[in-house]
Symmetry: C2
Subunit: 155 residues, 2 copies
């Protein structure tokens, strides 16, 4: 082994399998029929006290989706794997590898993997950030007033 330059965590974390890394836990979200997300795993790639941002890797299995939510903090997203669709505000887009998606503050958003492919993406956030808020019934109604959004929400 080459000598380490410091006592902190290894400078290099190698890719282990297709989208997994040395020393990075893959967290599966608990889920049940009532859960607002489905088949999503999260891996935190960079998070340090001396970094103002964090980079995470989320992967949604085919047919799964993230939570419909909004918050003050911004997301910077890059798709790394597979394909699917995203809702940002009232805009629905097909997304695929290396596409970039910006989710401004307080904008409703959700990601859905294709029925036959996973959707894996990097997500840049501030280390210090607020908690997500879930939609109230009136928010859902307002979103569903847009036919394209209603179709997205219905999967």
């Amino acid at each position: 082994m080459p000598e380490q330059t410091s006592t902190e965590a290894a400078a290099l974390r190698r890719r282990q399998d297709e989208f997994g890394w040395d020393g990075v836990d893959r967290l599966a979200y608990k889920q049940d029929a009532a859960a607002p997300f489905r088949n999503v795993s999260r891996q935190t790639l960079f998070s340090r006290p001396d970094l103002a941002g964090e980079l995470r890797y989320f992967e949604i299995a085919a047919g799964g989706h993230t939570t419909l939510e909004r918050h003050n903090h911004v997301h910077g997203v890059m798709v790394l794997r597979g394909r699917g669709r995203c809702l940002v505000g009232t805009q629905v887009d097909e997304i695929g590898e290396l596409d970039l998606i910006t989710i401004p503050g307080w904008t409703w958003h959700q990601f859905r993997a294709a029925a036959d492919a996973p959707l894996g993406f990097l997500c840049l956030v501030d280390s210090v950030r607020d908690r997500p808020v879930l939609p109230a019934p009136e928010d859902i109604a307002s979103l569903r007033a847009h036919p394209e959004v209603a179709a997205f929400l219905d999967g």
Copy 2:
């Protein structure tokens, strides 16, 4: 076109070519015989006043390299394309797609593409950060005291 949710820049920037994006300038570094870097382009993927971090994509053409430098701010790097080597402190590693590299503050670092492949990587930094410092002759001498580092610096 679906309606836009806000007046700001498009939420979605599609991948254009292999590693290029809509509305993202590709900046080529000026270079000459004396330049401390060679054949490097930079694209800023996420940089906003309401994000504390920035995500950039750097690509080094085959045989090229970044500047040997250090600074207070931290880099979080993920290789997206190709292969090469990196120096972090006095540690030299072969790196390839999806490997993660952490460069702590004030640590000498340099990236080199393979002779026959490019090296493209994402780099997470704080939006507010200090300027890099170049090595003084005594820093180079100190690094070269490590045979593996000397071999790396010689390309």
